[in-house]
């Protein structure tokens, strides 16, 4: 089973004070740490697990600059066999559809039975590249995948629906699956592991090799402005030392009648 996994490097934004850039089109990223998108981490793990059980290859693909190779090296250390980075220059000129087209063009020329993406990336929260690729490639697709079993050349997948419900489907290959977090337990990657994986192939392609015109890649969705959430009433903040705060909380709980 040959699997291509599309991954993205995203900034870590939890517990970080985000600032808007001067053009108000994005956030200031120069002070932020970057990681492999959480969903993609599960996707690459799932691909490697399938490879370990059923054989085949795993290829990790990203669109981005040289810094983005960091996440490809991580994928290689996790067990991917090879990686491809598409050098596309200034990424802010593409919308998600542009990225989906670039990735589809790369994937199309690879041998594949399966394509994995994460369900979403926790930077732009678009959650559309995967399914757009499925449509571009003309392959079957399943979203929100939390379980995969290989059965006689088909897949039995479980998708996460709302309210604790799962949907089981049978699907023929080739197919694109958008992987949801929690499907597995991604393995730990050590610095040594990443160093060892440096021997594996990391191919850099230039966007111009893909034969996509500027017109085809022109964005259809334009960011007018990004802004910080308006200050709302929000929570009443309890301040003081831990003792004072704890006393206030116990007091609230007692008044609400939930403390035996």
């Amino acid at each position: 089973m040959d699997i291509v996994v599309c991954v993205k490097r995203v900034p870590l934004t939890e517990e970080v004070d985000l600032m808007i850039d001067a053009q108000k089109k994005g956030i200031k990223k120069d002070q932020l740490a970057f990681v492999l998108n959480d969903w993609d981490n599960y996707a690459i793990e799932e691909a490697v697990l399938i490879k370990e059980k059923h054989g085949g290859t795993v290829t990790a693909v990203t669109v981005g600059n040289e810094d983005d190779e960091e996440v490809l090296r991580r994928c290689l250390a996790m067990g991917a066999d090879r990686a491809i980075r598409v050098e596309a220059g200034d990424m802010s000129r593409f919308d998600s559809y542009g990225i989906a087209k670039i990735l589809s063009r790369v994937v199309k020329d690879q041998p594949y039975d399966l394509v994995f993406t994460g369900v979403l990336a926790n930077d732009d929260y678009h959650s559309m590249v995967g399914m757009m690729m499925a449509e571009e490639l003309g392959v079957n697709h399943v979203n929100m995948v939390i379980g995969i079993e290989v059965e006689d050349g088909r897949l039995r997948t479980t998708s996460e629906l709302e309210g604790g419900l799962g949907e089981v489907s049978l699907i023929e290959l080739p197919a694109l699956l958008a992987i949801q977090t929690g499907i597995n337990e991604p393995r730990y990657v050590s610095i040594l592991g990443i160093r060892k994986a440096a021997k594996k192939e990391l191919k850099v392609m230039d966007l111009s090799e893909l034969g996509l015109s500027d017109e085809e890649l022109a964005p259809r969705v334009l960011i007018e402005e990004v802004y910080l959430p308006p200050e709302t009433e929000g929570a009443q903040i309890l301040s003081g030392d831990p003792d004072t705060i704890a006393a206030t909380v116990v007091d609230i709980l007692t008044k609400k009648g939930v403390m035996g």
Binding site: V16, M131, N143, E162, L165, E167, I171, T181, K256
Partner: protein, 326 residues
């Protein structure tokens, strides 16, 4: 004047709330801009479903076919693309749900229309469509516009618009034969399964002590368990804790877990992604402990403690033990 399409989402013979919410927004836009609202209902023996929304649209296009008994993004896309080509609606609304997230991008590519997902508001400003959405886990908001197109597709976040009917509409129900299947479906529905069944029902708890990613390490969960015990509450958690396998799925609060309605919800180290907030909309009082003052949870909480949970939790546990001894 044009039409606004709303794709009806239903499951197990029930219209899902997101459908009512999209119809509310569509009616509001239609009122202001003299559009009409058309609900697209694909189902099997779906007359009763159509009746439930007949006061919320001007027209219901009903395609009744056994293959629509269960959702199938490929089949939906095929049929809806046909209807869009026929009526040229300016806007098509789809729920940003597990199913809608699969359908919307496929439909957008197939039609060549722009798509914005997970929209929290939609407006026509000077005749141009604009949508509001969120990025970075709700820490950044954005406003997007689109290049000119005969039509646009937006997916809508659950729970942001009202569920009530808006205005006075009486839908004409128009039955449409579904076009013959182009190729046999290569995706087959098998069954629904419960993924969150377990021995504790957090939906019944009066006091939930809920733990999130801020707890850092698996061994720290014990600290939250002890706090819950001291307070006489039940432990629940947010998604990342279940993803890491630190607590079972049946304790997960949120869209993909359980909706809860305790008298008090004490959130410990939970950032408050909207999927989580949707699960606690029924909670009486929400108290949140988080060291990030910008964490979205503080926008939805009644009381906030901006501090290190590792400082607060042990003291709170001790205080609770003292009070309960008395």
């Amino acid at each position: 004047m044009s039409e606004i399409f709303v794709i009806v989402e239903h499951r197990l013979n029930e219209i899902r709330d997101i459908t009512f919410e999209m119809l509310w927004k569509a009616c509001e836009l239609a009122q202001t801009h003299s559009h009409t609202v058309t609900a697209i209902l694909l189902g099997h023996e779906a007359n009763s479903l159509a009746q439930q929304i007949s006061d919320r649209a001007d027209k219901i296009l009903l395609s009744d076919d056994e293959r629509f008994k269960n959702f199938n993004a490929g089949a939906y896309k095929e049929v809806i693309a046909g209807l869009i080509k026929e009526s040229n609606p300016i806007l098509t609304l789809i729920g940003n749900t597990a199913w809608g997230m699969e359908l919307a991008p496929c439909l957008a590519v197939s039609m060549g229309y722009p798509l914005a997902t997970d929209c929290t508001d939609i407006a026509f400003q000077d005749g141009k469509l604009v949508a509001e959405r969120q990025m970075y886990d709700g820490k950044i908001f954005s406003r997007v516009s689109f290049t000119d197109s005969p039509g646009y597709i937006l997916s809508v976040r659950s729970g942001v618009f009202a569920k009530d009917p808006l205005g006075d509409r009486k839908a004409e129900i128009v039955k449409r034969d579904s076009p013959p299947e182009q190729a046999p479906s290569k995706k087959e529905f098998v069954e629904y399964v419960e993924t969150a069944a377990g021995e504790v029902d957090i939906g019944q708890a009066e006091l939930l002590v809920s733990v999130g990613r801020g707890i850092g390490e698996e061994e720290n969960i014990a600290m939250v368990r002890e706090l819950a015990e001291a307070l006489g509450g039940i432990v629940s958690c947010s998604r990342p804790i279940v993803d890491k396998n630190w607590l079972p799925k049946y304790l997960q609060v949120g869209t993909s877990g359980k909706s809860v309605s305790p008298k008090v919800y004490l959130a410990v180290g939970i950032s408050g992604a909207f999927q989580h907030m949707a699960g606690i909309s029924g909670a009486g009082t929400v108290i949140a402990i988080n060291k990030d003052p910008k964490a979205p949870i503080f926008r939805g909480a009644d009381y906030g403690i901006v501090d290190d949970l590792f400082k607060i939790v042990p003291v709170l546990k001790q205080k609770a033990q003292e009070v309960r001894k008395k």
